[in-house]
Amino acid sequence: MEAPRTRGLSRRALSSGNVGAVLERGFTVIRNQNWMILVSGFFEPVFYLLAMGIGMGGLVGEVTGPAGEPIPYAAYIAPALLATSAMNGAIYDSTWNVFFKLRFAKLYQAMLQTSLGPLDVALGEILMALFRGFLYALGFLGVLAVMGLVTSWWSLLMVPVAVLIAFGFAALGMGITSYMKTFQQMDLINFVMLPMFLFSATLYPISVYPEPIQWFVMAMPLWHGVELMRQLSFGHFTGATLVHVLYFVGMTVLGLGLTTVRLRKLFLR
């Protein structure tokens, strides 16, 4: 005799295992509509690198690298810009995009009328964000190589790590977006992202701040991404490396859980 279902938190209620259908739709949209927007996003970190690396580099000179050695300013900010670009791409895809699909296009409602479960939808959307992050990371690494800023074979690991960073941001971003109802609330995302970009040791070390502010910065996800990328780009690792990686693993798990629960709550009540 079968036991009665307990509020259906079984795997089958969450997923039909058909993430591929969501991905297929995502790639069709890119091919037909917005590949230009996708491609143009690659230029933003490159512009930052050129302007800050060349222009500011002239004013700043050399700075201290992760192992305490003097490095050119461009080499200092390049890994940070890659981490930022992974964050931006993932956040854009998993917040504004999701917001439109959720509140205006009612796309998820349509998807969940089929055999797709909320976990399929969440994973599919997040994987699309990761695909974008992967492309940008690959392109950016190419630019770094051309500019002579790749100094270690460890740099190749920056691509999968960019995907990990994007995974964390995309998973959490989509979960948070599910709470948003108006454009004004969406603006709050910028209020979080801009300071995080400015203060996370991207353009200068956080040692310029008093200690309490340093602790605050260290609690933010982008700082961990920036530090991780910087360590990779110079092949210099410490005990903190593992902490940075685990931070994003935790963020991803938490985000995926939140997003799935939220989509269930929104559509399958």
């Binding site: 143009s40 512009f47 050129l50 302007a51 060349i54 004013l59 700043v60 400015l198 353009l203």
Partner: protein, 288 residues
Amino acid sequence: MTEHVRTELDPAALAYSGRAPGHTVMAARARARGTWFYAETVLRGMRAYFWPIMLYAVGQPLLYMVAMGIGLGTLVSSGVGSVDGVDYLTFVAPALLVSTVVMSVSGEMTYPVMQGFKWQRLYYGPVSTPVSPGQIALGHLLAVVIRFLVQSTIFWLIMLAFGAAPSGWSWLVVPIGVLTATAFGAPLQAYASTLTDEGFQFSFIQRFVVMPMFLFAGTFFPLSAMPTYLHWIGWISPVWHGTELARLASYGAPMSPLMLVVHLAFLLACTVTGMLLAVRFYTRRLRS
């Protein structure tokens, strides 16, 4: 019910009650002051976003001043020391004012213009009154200018609080910031008014015009810090011309009288051309 409608909504009854002017007087007023009427409409619309706008107007300068001026300034002072004869915060502050208003104006003169023509068709109500399409175009711009007058003033006050505006003439950065915003905003408004589908043009402008202008037009470092073949980006950018003027006002950066005229003429020319084109395109689109 009918009594209520008669007294409140029937314009004739309102006119005969002695509380309202007649049709012709109202029409003449709208014709004479349509620009202000439309600006008022836009400003009242902005009230819905009052707190986000204020948070932005105060928060953004604070963040940039601390991050770029003080944080990045620490690196600069251990690198070359001073830039342009002043510390880095003083050097970068007037440029940040100009850049941030220009970045905001690019938000105000793109999607909201599309909203006026297409998404919410806000322009089509006023144009069915004696208010002309040109007045709608200029009224929209005027409202945005008023917003940036407030935003620039807040930024200037924050500069003062940080001790980053030593000259007695530093208040001039406010009109300079507004003029630069118009020099970029008016042509952008004219362009946005010609678009009929919400394609990717606006994100392209953001990525390939606004962002490079922020990064390459002398905001964070003098143009001379870049290779010569990149200097043209500054020359054709309103941001560079505005920034140079703002630096003159803020800390008395060296400038020849000829260049003063060139900077002002460039910004004024962009503004006037943009306004003329906007009036023309709005008229063509709203009257056809």
